[in-house]
Amino acid sequence: MEYFAQQVINGLQLGFVYALIALGYTMVYGIVRLINFAHGDVFMIGAFIGFYTIERYHLPLALVFLSAVAGCTVLAVLIEQLAYRPLRHAPKIASLITAIGVSLFLEYFTSLRQVFGPNFYSFPRPFPVVIWEVGGILVTNIQAVILVVTVLCLLFLQFIVFRTKMGRGMRAVSYDYVTAGLMGVNVNRVISFTFGLGAALAGVGGVLYGIAYPQVNTFMGFMPGLKAFTAAVLGGIGNIPGAVLGALIMGQSETMVSAYLSSTYRDGIAFVILILVLLWKPTGILGAPRAEKV
């Protein structure tokens, strides 16, 4: 029983980490319908900004987060303007390919010795780890921080999307960007804002990830990005609570497969679950069923 509870906690940590990245993914997808493969790499940049601001400049934690958020936002807005905006009227797949290009570029360019370098750098912990024992189950303060931050991000996003003018613009663009433009929504601004917002989340996520798994490398972003995207799809892509739900399921299924079935086949079994869920609900768990007007 203790073993099971401990594994649930483990799965929760993994799930909330995925959730942080998935939120950014789902935001961008929800508005522009683009699988932004570069998101994981923006997340990596966020982690590196965290690494440098702590290791080199010893900034206080709030400033660390702030600079990661600022850096990622600027980068994402730049990427959007240079690589995605010119292709807005081209088929979506063209932007997907430039997204892959941007992702590869960020990974290989930053791994040059003159930029971040190729090493695995150990990420300094800005605060000591505290382990609490609750009825034989170990919980760390890092897990608590991740949970709180993810939930705050989720609420913040829900607020932006459903309670602000910009959010209304986002929903309009998501529904039909041509009509939204005709109705006076500044589509370019909304899309830039969306990318910026997604990247800000990636910045927060990157630093938290560095704290939780204290090692950074320029190739660290892709796999978590892919898993997070998968989680977002599982929950119903474009749906904000869905992203968190999907990520939590993903985290639990990976953990439980490791714990009770076979760690060797973990990824395989986790993706079998994904495919089964998709067959049962073709647009994800919380995704609205796709209705096409005939």
Binding site: G11, R113, P118, T255, A259, S263, T264, R266
Partner: protein
Amino acid sequence: MRRGLSLLALVVLLVGHFPGCKSPPAKEIRIGLITPLSGDVKTFGESVKNAFEVAVEEANAKGGVAGMKIATFLVDDRNDPTEASNAANLLINQHGVKAIVGSVTSKTTIPVSDLAQSLRIPTITGTATNPKVTVADGKRKDYMFRACYTDSFQGTVMAKFARGTLNATAAAVLYDASNDYSKGIAEVFRDAFVRMGGRVTAYESYGKDDVDFSALLTKVKAAKPDVLFLPDYYNKVGLIAKQAKETGFQGALIGPDGWDSPELVKVAGDAIEGGYFSNHYSPEDTRPEVGNWVKKYKEKFQQTPDALGTLAYDATNMLLEAIRKANSADPGKIRDALASLSGFEGVTGKFTMDEHGDPIKSAVIIQIKDGKQKFLQVVNP
């Protein structure tokens, strides 16, 4: 159709235009290095490249080998088997190299070894541990050599150490299922440990890009092993060790030579304290080869060399020594000299090639104490 043909003609023209294998000037020997200079293991690839360059510079400073200056050709394999094979092909057929050092991982070195074997170019790797690098399907690739141990050697050494010296009865193993180095050593360790009367209570794997090991470690902890064997490189081991401590794991951590890097302690902190690993040499070793190498590397690159770099340095030097002995740029003669190498004094020990092209050398067990590597004992194969 006509346009298709003219396109083909264009391609042919372009290809033909590239410099072919011009015969090198008389007093020069061409050596190639294949190493991952981009991609996920670029950091290892650069260590190897640095070491290779140090070795070649030293030799050239002394006037080259066998009266020939060494001309080097560096190619990147991105840790991809296809690219590695292409790279080896480029070195041999386009650049006309007479010998190759490389590559770094086994999955890239095996295709290189196959190609080098079929084209009869002596090749030595510093770091590829898979037995299939030198012997595959019962056939010895007699142009292929290595400077490191094979998987089976280290797996057995650590099993013996855990069972004998640490008196462990139950062991757990965590390994990377997609990494042949990790998987290879893990399997050998498990089999050897069981053969010596121990029990393997947990045998679990993770993926190349995993960073969260809590589920596995919780499982390991529940299996109550005396030792946890972690056959992987220092970056992964650091993360696992740290999380092992956070899960409250109490047993000893042990591992192979992949642990050897100052980065390990940096990532893992006191979580790795008291851990043991097998290595080629100890930094406390007083032999001049060790001191010179570490000093030179630090001067040039402002960091301590890791095991991969050190092995590549030895591999390159062994190759150069063989050329010296063969006193010829003929690949066949260089091969023969490499095969008959014995008692070669390298940084990582005294080398003698066995009939498989694998070195016979002893290993040392090192313990991490107060964040430093401390020599514990010598183990002979």
